[in-house]
Symmetry: C2
Subunit: 217 residues, 2 copies
């Protein structure tokens, strides 16, 4: 028995946080009503696309009026699961791990950091913002005992898959991976990669695109 909920495409999903961010900006400016046309103008999309995207999840607008900003912001928050609380751990307490731990956007908004892990004995026992750094050997048990839902990987590429396996064994539901390696996880675990060098190399590509394409002729 098939549910009518046809999968939403990744292209749409990745635009949702963007809508959420722009709506937050409108809220801050005390704008309480917006049409798809006006939103398309400030976001650089088409009005048609915005309406199509939103209608994957429901009819949030009103003919002749547009969308209520606060309401739409709230609906998208729910779609993104931002009305829920998540407990998390960061594995790797180096520069990147510490930066994520301190990342203010991450601290608020219901993402509770329950623990950090590192292999370096000098770091173990220290605290970042009141969060203790544990020995990396204890990941699996800690994740299980504390019902950790999100595991954040900030270790070198060599160790990334091993850490992912341990997080999964402990029972995390999702992994936010900052290591430059596409760690594999079982189907029932969600994975989101942040490949910083890929982003940087995209920029350098664009800086050189003209020369590259001319040379090809």
């Amino acid at each position: 028995m098939e549910r009518s909920s046809h999968k939403v495409s990744m292209a749409v999903i990745r635009r949702l946080p963007k809508y959420y961010r722009y709506l937050e900006g409108l809220l801050k400016k005390d704008i309480n009503r917006i049409s798809s046309k006006e939103l398309s103008r400030i976001m650089g999309l088409t009005a048609s696309q915005i309406r199509q995207d939103l209608n994957c999840f429901g009819g949030f607008g009103q003919q002749g009026y547009g969308y209520n900003v606060a309401e739409l912001h709230n609906e998208i928050a729910k779609i993104l699961g931002l009305n829920k609380h998540y407990s998390s751990v960061i594995v790797g307490a180096g520069n990147l791990g510490q930066a994520i731990a301190n990342y203010s956007n991450f601290q608020r908004q219901g993402f509770e950091l329950k623990g950090m892990f590192d292999i370096n004995p000098k770091l173990i026992g220290l605290r970042i913002r009141d969060v203790e750094i544990h020995d990396i050997d204890n990941i699996e048990g800690f994740v299980r005992e504390n019902d950790i839902e999100i595991g954040i990987i900030a270790v070198p590429l060599e160790n990334a898959q091993d850490i992912a396996d341990k997080l999964v064994a402990g029972g995390v539901k999702g992994i936010w991976n900052f290591a430059p390696f596409d760690v594999k996880v079982p189907e029932n675990v969600e994975i989101e990669h942040v490949h910083l060098s890929e982003s940087l190399y995209t920029l350098t590509y664009l800086l050189n695109e003209k020369d590259i394409l001319e040379k090809k002729d």
Copy 2:
């Protein structure tokens, strides 16, 4: 007079760093030959797509043989502009700025960090890995005098556009933006955004997708 160099689509461009990364992995394993079929298997793409992608830039393979790993790796490095040197500055010397400064992948590979900038008097004058933190008021002059090509923005969203404007005024060619705001730059300046919370919210969406789509029915 139009050049035959038809623009390469962004979808293709964003796969290039991924090819580069996987080829690097093969190199490390001393594998010196690969077919599009085998590469498609380890990367999770189709062989057809790989051949299409590469042929946007040239015929790097050989019929009946496949691709020489070292050669293809090198060609893609050139396409991505990784054979060149770039001088850069980081604006914002908080946790994120410092993490980027210390990011090892960034330090090697020809990305020279020439200076950092912050508004906080306590940070100004300090050094991160031998790189001095300057007063944020001096950005434009510093960028111009030191021929900085890449400006990295790691400041709060409120200041991001102002910083971008100053970097552009100083003459940067590209901006790597970590602020949660789509800063606008002139057409001749390239921009690459890293929106960390959008990535995180994509993960939380996926954690809740089933519930969301069922509720809709």
